[in-house]
Symmetry: C2
Subunit: 343 residues, 2 copies
C-alpha cells in the first residue's frame, strides 16, 4: 500500500511537492491544506486534490466560496502517515505542536529554523540520517544548491575551505510587493550570511563563509563559489564527477546559455511545466581547477530545486527505501530530473 | 599659468572630467571634442565649453546644426599640454597615433587595453609611477574601486590572497539598449574575470581571483571581497584605517543605507550634481576581520568613481605636483569628495 501523505500549505513549494507526490508509485496524496479559497484552491479542486482548511475560520471561508472541503488540518492528520509542511517560514514551527499531538511525522522547509527538526536534509549528503526520523527539515533553495555540489566534491576530494557569494533573485515571478526594482541590496549587510551556517546544519565540519546580495530579477539565484580542496584534482576529473552526479547539470555559455534567462528559455522549450528546473545548473566554462583550488558559477531555480529532496525525505523517514541512490533514481525518473545535461 | 587640458569624448566620463578640470586652480579646460551635434553638445556650448569636432565629417554636421565649433581634434591638440581621452573603448587606442603625431601626452580610460599606456593608474596606489609620463591609463570603475581599498590594505598590512565577486550594473541610467532586464548573467561565464588581471596592472604581485555577474540595475556595482592579510589585525584597526583614507566612505545599513538605492538617495539629498558618488562606499557592518582573514561588501558608482583619478593623473604627468597626497587633497577639496562618511 502506498504511503499516505498530506501537504500543508499550497504555495510555491507546496503545490509542486503535492504534484510530485502524485507521480510517485509508493506514495498517495491524501489531501492538501489551504488557508484561503483563492484561485489556487479552485485549481487544486479541478486537479482532483482533496482540500482541507487550515482551521475552523478558514473552513467557513471555503464553504462560503462554495468550494468542496473535506475538513480541517486535524482531520487530514487522522488519515496520513506523514505531512509535508510547506507553510511560510515560522508557521511550520507553530504547526509542529499539532503534528506532535496527532503523532504524525512531518517534513519542514528551509524557512524554519534548524531546531524545528531532528535532521536538516539533503539527499546527496545525508539521506541515511533521515531514515526513520519523525521530524526532518529540507534546507532552503540556496542551501540545497550549495549542498548538492559541496557534498559531491567533499565525498570525492574533501573540502578545506569555501567562500560563496550568493546573488539572490528579488522576488518569485508571481510576487508584486517585493524588490528591489533597481538596486543591489546586501542581504544582510553583515557578513557572513546565514547560508554558510545553514550548509553546516548538514555538512557539519565544513569551513565555509557566505555573503548574499539581492538583485532585481525573478528567475533564479546565481552563486559564485571559491573552494579549496583537500587534494589536487584535474579539471576533467571534476567535469566527469559533476556530469555523473544526479540533479546536477552542466550548461555552456558558448552554446548560448549565457544567463539565467537562457536557462529558463531552455526549460520552456523543453515543455517543462511552469519551466521548473529542479536541477542545480553549473556553467561548464566557469569551472576552473588549479591545483587544490576550484571555482565556478552555478544557478538555482528557487521555486523547484527543493522538490526532489522533499520526496526523498518522505521515503527516508517512512523507510520506503533505506538506499539514498534508489530513492534519488526513482524520484528523478518520475519527475524527469536530469543529470549531465538538460537536453 | 594653469595647465591647458583638452577632453576628447563627452560621454559619461568625458563630461564629468571636463567639469572637474574647470574646478581645478592649476588647470584650464581648453576645449572638448565631440562627434555629433546632439543635446550634450548644445549643453556644452551653454556651459561655455569650446567645442571641437572629431573630424572634418563631424565638423560639417556641427556647422549644419548651427553649433559654434572651433575646429577639429588636431586644432585642439595644437593648444593643449595634455588630453584626456574619454572615448568609447578601443577608440582611444586609434586616437593615440594622432596624439603621438602632435606630441601631446594623453590619459586613456579603462576601456582601453593596458598596453595603450606606459602606466595603469590609481592615485592611492601608484601616483609616483605616472610622474612625467606621456601615456597613462586610468583603470575602469570596478578596478578603481577595488584598487582604492586593496592598495590601502596592502600598504598597511600586506595582502596574501583576494577573492572578489563583482555584481555589475546592467546599464548606465541613460542607456536603453542594454540588459539584462530580468536575468543574472555571468560576465564572462569563464573564470576568472578580467578585473583581477586589471588590478594586477597596478598592484602587480597581488594574488587575486575575480568573477563577475551582470544584474538588472543601473545605479552602482557591488563587490563582495574575501581577503587574506599578511598579518593579524583587529576590526577596529581596519575601520580606523578606512575611515581615514581619502575617497573611501563607510555607510551603515542599520542607519538605513541598506542598498545602492539608499546610497543614491543620500547623494540626491546632499544635492550632489547628477547624484555622483566618486567615493568608494563600504558597508561598515559587512567588514569582518578574523585573524588574518577579512571580508566586506562595497559599492562603486560606475559613472563618477574614476573622475578624481583622471584629475590626479593630469597632475602627475605634468608634474603639477609630485606628491600624491597633495594632489588627492586638492582634487577632493575642489570636487567635494569625502572621506570617512558621506554626510
Amino acid at each position: 500500500m502506498p504511503a499516505r501523505i498530506g501537504v500543508v500549505g499550497f504555495g510555491t513549494i507546496g503545490k509542486r511537492v503535492a504534484e510530485a507526490i502524485t507521480r510517485q508509485p509508493d506514495m498517495e496524496l491524501v489531501g492538501i491544506v489551504k488557508t484561503k479559497p483563492d484561485y489556487t484552491a479552485e485549481l487544486a479542486v479541478k486537479l482532483g486534490y482533496k482540500l482541507y482548511a487550515a482551521n475552523q475560520d478558514s473552513l467557513r471561508k471555503f464553504e462560503e466560496a462554495g468550494l468542496p472541503v473535506k475538513g480541517v488540518l486535524e482531520d487530514l492528520l487522522e488519515n496520513v502517515d506523514l505531512v509535508v509542511d510547506a507553510t511560510p517560514g515560522g508557521v511550520g514551527a507553530k504547526n509542529k505542536t499539532i503534528y506532535e499531538q496527532k503523532g504524525v511525522p512531518a517534513i519542514f522547509q528551509g524557512g524554519e529554523k534548524a531546531d524545528v527538526a531532528e535532521v536538516s536534509f539533503n539527499s546527496l549528503c545525508n539521506y541515511e540520517e533521515a531514515i526513520g526520523r519523525r521530524y526532518v527539515r529540507v534546507v532552503s533553495c540556496n542551501t540545497t544548491g550549495l549542498l548538492r555540489i559541496l557534498c559531491t566534491l567533499n565525498k570525492a576530494y574533501g573540502l578545506k575551505r569555501v567562500y560563496a557569494t550568493i546573488v539572490r533573485r528579488a522576488a518569485d515571478p508571481k510576487e508584486i510587493k517585493r524588490g528591489p526594482v533597481n538596486a543591489i541590496k546586501p542581504d544582510p549587510a553583515t557578513m557572513p550570511s546565514h547560508h554558510g551556517e545553514d550548509v553546516k546544519t548538514v555538512l557539519r565540519d565544513l569551513d565555509i563563509v557566505t555573503a548574499a546580495v539581492v538583485v532585481p530579477t525573478t528567475l533564479m539565484h546565481v552563486h559564485v563559489v571559491y573552494a579549496k580542496l583537500a587534494r589536487q584534482v584535474s579539471n576533467d576529473e571534476v567535469i566527469e564527477l559533476l556530469a555523473n552526479t544526479p540533479r546536477i547539470v552542466l550548461v555552456e555559455a558558448n552554446k548560448g546559455v549565457t544567463s539565467t534567462a537562457d536557462i529558463v528559455e531552455l526549460a520552456r522549450d523543453l515543455g517543462r511545466k511552469r519551466y521548473d528546473i529542479p536541477e542545480l545548473i553549473v556553467w561548464r566554462e566557469s569551472i576552473v581547477v588549479k591545483g587544490d583550488e576550484m571555482y565556478w558559477m552555478q544557478a538555482v531555480h528557487q521555486e523547484s530545486i527543493v522538490v526532489p529532496e522533499n520526496i526523498d525525505a518522505i521515503r527516508a523517514m517512512l523507510k520506503l527505501t533505506t538506499n539514498a541512490m534508489d530513492s534519488i533514481a526513482l524520484t528523478d525518473k518520475t519527475l524527469g530530473v536530469k543529470r549531465g545535461t538538460l537536453i
